[in-house]
Amino acid sequence: MIPYAESLLIFTSLAVILASSLNLMLGYGGMFSAAHAVFYGIGAYTASLLALHVNSSILLCVPAAMIAGGVAGALLAVPALRVKEEYFVVASLGFQVIASTVFNQWVAVTGGIGGLTGIPPASFMSIQVDSYGGYLVLALLCAAGVLIALKLLVRSEFGRALRALRDDEAALQALGRDPVRLRVATVVIAAMLAAIAGAIYAYFTSFVNPESFSLDESILIMVMVIIGGTGTLTGPVLGAVFITTFPALLSFVQIPSTILGPTQRVVYGAVITLLMIYEPEGLLGFLRRISRVASFSALRRWQPSTSSS
């Protein structure tokens, strides 16, 4: 059981990185992207290729994955941001489909649907990470690092400018900042962070293929952000935890494995829809409501005046 829980936690940490980095674009920058799995995939492929052919050191593979992810981010952002905002989502969709095609067809590099196998375990200096526990520590450290980086970023001058951009572009331009450059920087940063998750994923599963970086995955990441609650640091974390652990809980219900997958998806599709209808603020809004109930604020505030004069 313990290895299972560990691997679940590792995948949850990766989801936290992906959802939080997408939230930088979506929640703070107002750019609705359906291509986040591309950066995740580019990170994974870059790290795998380096680990297979050069060296499996984290100090080499993770920075290289981040650079490759950043370049891919610029590839999406530079052309896509020239068009109107609402079209960004469609441009990103197109980018995702093209990237999936390349992952599938460029067999010489990506191995096609057969993927890259036998990726060596991560190494750091002379330590080799080859246990689930080791990967858990690695994934948790990366997730924490990404969250801290995002927190600092959001509080910085850059973060304030970004929020100003989302809320009032004209005011920002009046202050002399270039909105396009700001947006491109945001996409590049988000893509670099997502690529970290890709590298850890490649090390951990020792296998990458295009199925893990499809449009489905991109949309799943988007759903994590929206379900959790956009534009806050906590929201995407909640969403990521919910989306990764919920199907896992369902998998303990003993139904035949052939109908397990579709059943899980029916349930989580329904949860997504219901949540959007009844709680558009996402899980965060839901928790706030609970905490208002749980803090017994009405009870505490209830002070019938007994001391009548």
Binding site: R82, Y87, V90, V102
Partner: protein, 289 residues
């Protein structure tokens, strides 16, 4: 050269099916401003309803078509009534509506997997046997696809231009406030748009059952292509959406002249990106220049 023409002919036949789904999507989007991702689910439901009626219950194709139409319209209306209307009442954002619609799509897609399995199914029929026209080959299904979609689009044009309901829909596409001012029921207009849009997906679904077989995965690829067609054509333009569908169908077929066919999707969306960059307002505006 001959091969290129043959590929273009195949592309037009497939493109007409894309056009129908795209126009349905565009009608709904134009009238209600809802990004109805679950339109892909409508397409799937219609296709499987037809398949089940014809192949499992052994009714005629005409009965199958009728049942598919009923199922599609019922689902479209139910989406509007049960999901979108409560959401729009609470002023939900574009994103939340999109995600709700997406969740709905996942539910339907996987219910279909649970009922029919995730494999693909085909219908044996004389309609898919290719006919030779000189050196070119086209199946009767392809001919029906091209002719039928032209007739349907003409019908939609007549409906929008010459009926009261059509006029109301056009008014609502222009301005939802205006419709309320002149005393039309906004919800009834939305219902009508969903019914009409969903109905347009039915012939596309039925014909593609014959043309290429059906699988639960085909819903997602169809709605993606339809969304792309709408944008290639220019958001807000029905004529553009139809043209966009045909352009994408031809592009993905002709594009594989020299490339493996598995590049088809990539090519279609490459065309989409090109349009976004060069002509963000779509084909129709490009033609007007």
């Amino acid at each position: 050269m001959q091969l290129l023409l043959q590929l273009a002919i195949n592309g037009v036949a497939i493109g007409c099916l894309y056009a129908l789904v795209a126009v349905g999507f565009a009608v709904i989007f134009g009238v209600t401003r809802i990004f109805h991702f679950a339109h892909g689910a409508t397409y799937l439901l219609a296709a499987y309803a037809y398949y089940a009626t014809v192949s499992i219950f052994h009714f005629s194709a005409l009965v199958g078509l009728g049942i598919a139409a009923l199922v599609a319209m019922a689902f479209g209306s139910a989406c509007e009534r049960l999901v979108y209307r409560p959401m729009l009442r609470s002023e939900s954002s574009f994103l939340t509506v999109f995600v709700a619609s997406f969740g709905l799509f996942i539910v339907v897609e996987n219910l279909i997997v649970l009922i029919f399995g995730s494999g693909f199914s085909t219908l044996e029929s004389a309609l898919s046997k290719g006919l030779l026209f000189g050196p070119f080959e086209l199946s009767p299904v392809g001919i029906i696809a091209i002719g039928g979609s032209a007739v349907l689009l003409l019908g939609l044009e007549l409906f929008l231009a010459h009926t009261d309901a059509g006029t109301a829909l056009r008014a609502m596409a222009d301005s939802a406030e205006l419709v309320q001012i002149i005393g039309l029921d906004r919800h009834r207009c939305a219902q009508l748009a969903f019914a009409a849009g969903s109905l347009l997906a039915v012939p596309a679904a039925v014909l593609s059952v014959h043309l290429s077989g059906l699988s639960p995965q085909s819903g997602a690829s169809m709605i993606l292509i339809a969304m792309a067609s709408t944008i290639v054509g220019g958001i807000g333009s029905l004529y553009g959406a139809a043209l966009g569908g045909v352009v994408l169908g031809v592009a993905e077929n002709v594009g594989i002249w020299r490339l493996p066919a598995s590049w088809g999707d990539g090519i279609a969306f490459g065309v989409l990106l090109l349009f976004l960059l060069l002509r963000p307002a779509g084909i129709v505006s490009a033609l007007r220049r």
